[in-house]
Amino acid sequence: MIRLSPQVRTTIQRTTLPILVLLSAAIVVLGKADQLLFDSVRTAVTDTVSPVLDALSRPLTAVGNMIGRVEMMASTYQENARLQAENERLLQWQQTALNLAADNQQLRGLLKAIPESAVSYVTARVIANSGGAYVRMILINAGSDDHVGRGQAAITGEGLVGRLTEVGNRAARVLLITDLNSRIPVTIEASHVNAVLAGDNSERPRLLYLPSADSVKVGDRVVTSGEGGVFPPGLPIGVVGAIDAAGPRVEPYVELSQVGYVLVVDYGLSRFLPQPPQAMARTNRRTKSPGEDDAITR
């Protein structure tokens, strides 16, 4: 080790703090100017820390599950009655669905329609969230090792949770539909009107670009439109909850703050679609490792 004179050491100690403050400020500006600049660092750090987060979040998931179980126990009787009624109704729907599926298949045969590509699911646990007022993201414990890829949809049984924006080997980041940067092409099911679901960090995202204010009403179902090709059409998102000064807001089906597990669904769409500019830049940047993206889109 180099021995420094006391004066030099004092100077270094005095200047470290201001230098690091300036460096942080520079990083903030650079990170804003080129959003991809720190992406690989981000993925690497997340990947490295994910086993720790995985372990730390386990007790929380267990507690969450336990609370859920106790709540369920308390309402078993009413829940049972409700489910029986629902089951009767669903059995009728099942008959309808079977008839429609048969019809559909026959008609597709007549039209020589291309069969929809197979869907594959990966279940993943939520191991971290964004912890702050300014981003809405979650981290899940599945990555490219589990054949999970960027752009895929994260859903639960109730509906859409978000989109995978960053995929490491062991962990992936999901941009929730409520995040400020989330824009999803949607359809209002009742009126077949297209719109864009835009998050604003609040719990209820807004509907933008509606042709007219009266094309939606409270209670309308909102589903993905499939435009832009990131999601298949028809994924349930939520219902129109209220129409305020900023326009209609959507009440998501999924209680996003309570999600413990998500399904990552590969609809096999990403490879047919024009890559968004961000993804394109990323692919160019990584031309040195061609195998990487293959592994992700598989």
Binding site: L17, L20, A26, T46, V49, L56, M137, L139, S257
Partner: protein, 176 residues
């Protein structure tokens, strides 16, 4: 509390490895805790700023053991893990150190309410600055309510954090 033992300028020398690591380790733990998925409705947006508590505590009582470089690294790690704009937390922690070091001599040998008042002022300033910075970065006027609640939660939880950090400090460093 263990808060009365250290006086400016000489900090008691700590040779024990675990004791030297304590400030950095607890601040890093605070960063990890702040990204854990607690399933309470609305919690994610209102997560208290745990790293701010640790940075404040250690900058007052052991600034020598939580150097700027550690704050920088922990701040960056928190940004990277949370997915928030990179550099913001690093900047926040370093500015916290700058601010607290300037007033440190007023906080040493004072009662806890005094230290808590200092933290309250710091939190209000820090979260206000953070809100302004995020508005600037996203070029939008962001909802202010969450920031207010978050500041209130952070201030409310500080006594507990301070108690735990003080306990750990006494246990590991053997002072007080």
């Amino acid at each position: 509390m263990a808060l009365k033992v250290f006086s400016i300028p000489a900090l008691p020398r700590v040779n024990n490895g675990a004791a030297r690591m304590l400030p950095v380790a607890t601040t890093l733990l605070a960063a990890l805790i702040s990204v854990l998925p607690v399933r309470i409705p609305g919690y994610a947006a209102l997560t208290p700023v745990f790293t701010l508590m640790a940075a404040y505590h250690w900058t007052i009582y052991r600034p020598d053991l939580l150097p700027p470089l550690a704050l920088f690294g922990i701040g960056l790690a928190e940004d990277l893990l949370a997915g928030s704009p990179i550099g913001v937390n690093a900047l926040l922690l370093l500015l916290t150190r700058t601010a607290v070091l300037g007033y440190r001599r007023y906080f040493i040998n004072r009662t806890f309410p005094f230290v808590w008042t200092g933290f309250t002022l710091l939190t209000i300033g820090a979260l206000l600055a953070m809100w302004a910075l995020h508005c600037l970065l996203s070029l939008a006027f962001l909802d202010f309510r969450n920031t207010v609640i978050r500041a209130a939660l952070t201030i409310a939880i500080f006594p507990l954090a301070s108690f735990l950090l003080g306990r750990a400090q006494r246990a590991v460093m053997g002072a007080g």
